[in-house]
């Protein structure tokens, strides 16, 4: 479940890479003529190993192998993102942050890299002073702006595109909502976080909403925390369980 959620961003990679109608009966141009190019068969095979890894642990391993073996590859951003997504899924947030930074260095305008970096800055348990919050807000706003200019590739299935787009938009709203929350603007935070959860009910977003409800003394906090636990992944569930304990109050500290 969590694996499927976290890797929704990878759908974007597929859309980017594929001259997707290549062997369909059509004469439309391919989706993207500026796709990353492998310099050798071995490089593409190594990238394929990440895409075919099948589980988060293996994805992180193959991504790191790729990044070490092909530091100048045009696939760097996608390999780093695949590894970062999986690290996040495994709750290894510092590893995730390192890989996200690598992806963002490779392409400062990559929507997925911007959003993942922003999510990590505002993640529960991470110290996030106002300067960092501002950076997260800038990343999210930039990503949402870039997203507006994206067009569905010719042969991409509308539903897949919509899910990917919604997942990006939700991440952006979540970051903006979290910054509002951390700045103490609970009402505007609520609007943004509700929008994020409506677009993509990811555990991380539900947890933030539960934290917001708890901060407002809203009776919905427990139900929201229970939804976050059910949605996972485990690091999110762990924070949410803390929230359910009456003697504890999760703010933005480690449980």
């Amino acid at each position: 479940m969590a694996w499927a959620n976290v890797n929704s961003g990878l759908l974007g990679i597929v859309a980017l890479l594929c001259a997707d109608m290549a062997f369909a009966q059509t004469h439309a141009p391919p989706s993207n003529s500026t796709s990353p190019q492998a310099k050798s068969r071995e490089e593409l095979d190594a990238f394929g190993a990440i895409m075919e890894a099948g589980n988060p642990v293996r994805t992180v391993e193959t991504a790191q192998q790729f990044l070490n073996a092909y530091p100048n590859s045009e696939f760097i951003v996608y390999a780093a993102l695949a590894g970062a997504d999986s690290s996040c899924d495994l709750g290894k947030l510092s590893q995730c942050a390192g890989l996200a930074r690598q992806a963002l260095q490779a392409n400062p305008n990559n929507i997925d890299a911007l959003l993942l970096s922003a999510r990590l800055i505002v993640a529960p348990g991470i110290e996030n002073p106002p300067k960092h919050r501002m950076e997260a807000k800038t990343f999210a706003a930039t990503a949402l702006d870039l997203l507006k200019r994206k067009t569905i590739p010719t042969a991409s299935e509308a539903g897949v595109w919509l899910r990917t787009r919604n997942s990006f938009e939700a991440a952006g709203k979540y970051v903006l909502g979290s910054v509002e929350f951390l700045d103490g603007n609970l009402d505007s935070a609520r609007v943004l976080l509700d929008q994020a959860v409506a677009l993509d009910p990811r555990g991380e977003y539900l947890l933030r909403l539960a934290m917001l409800c708890a901060a407002k003394g809203d009776s919905g906090a427990q139900a929201m925390a229970a939804r976050a636990i059910a949605a996972g992944p485990e690091w999110v569930a762990s924070f949410a369980r803390e929230l359910l304990r009456p003697e504890k109050r999760v703010t933005n500290d480690q449980p």
């Binding site: 594929c18 593409l44 994206k150």
Partner: protein, 278 residues
Amino acid sequence: MWSILARGKGNVILASFCLCAVSATTLRSQDASNSLANGVQSLRQGRTFVAIKALRIALAEGNLHAHLPLAEAYFVLNQRKLFKEEIALAKAAFPLDPEAFYVEGRYRFQVEKDVETAAKQFQLALVRSADHYKALCYLGICLREMRKEEEAEPLLLKSVQLAEQSKSSFYLPYQSLAEYYLQLNRLEEAESMIGKAVALAPRVAMNQFLHGKVAWAAKKNDVAVVSLNAAIKIDPAFLQAYYLLSRVLSAMGDKDGANRRLTEFQTLKDIYGLGQRQ
């Protein structure tokens, strides 16, 4: 999983080779053939990286037939350098086979948008097999792009004829001819061609859209509404269908329906953009 099995087989083959050269040779060719079959199957299923792995094993096992599907896999992944290397190897391995020339034509046309080079590749495919109805169709489409529509029409018609003879579901020449006849306002011929395309592939949004467009031109508004709704149902991102449907509904006096579709068009434009659909 598959690669583990393949490696396992490789060890068995090696052991067999030590014991008995004849049976090892048989096993080796079977294994190469399996790698090729698995690679092609994975490619058709959209598991492109798995396909590449299998096809590279088939090549390592000496099966030169793997060059062409491997080139196709690189085409699917938009890997320009690797595609060019692999298609050259496919042509060198089987110079009389039209398929590699056809695939290169598709690549030149779709990826490089080099219509003239693509046309030459389709011609080379046709030199090797005059009955290659897909090469004929694409050569016709290239000629239409080059504004040589009068030369294109007989090629597309021949492609239709050959595809019908081989009972193929290849609908593209019908679609292309329907577009051409619609441009010339030869509506009966356009209706006939797009009707056949829809019969062959009703789940293709472009076929339904063109069917609606031809019906609209022929003032068969009820038919147009059905076809355009079908296009939208198949592909909710087919924005031209929403727009045309709003025009058809407006012409039929259904102002509410027309406004609804126009609003959807405006809203969805922000979500999907105005990219080309198929």
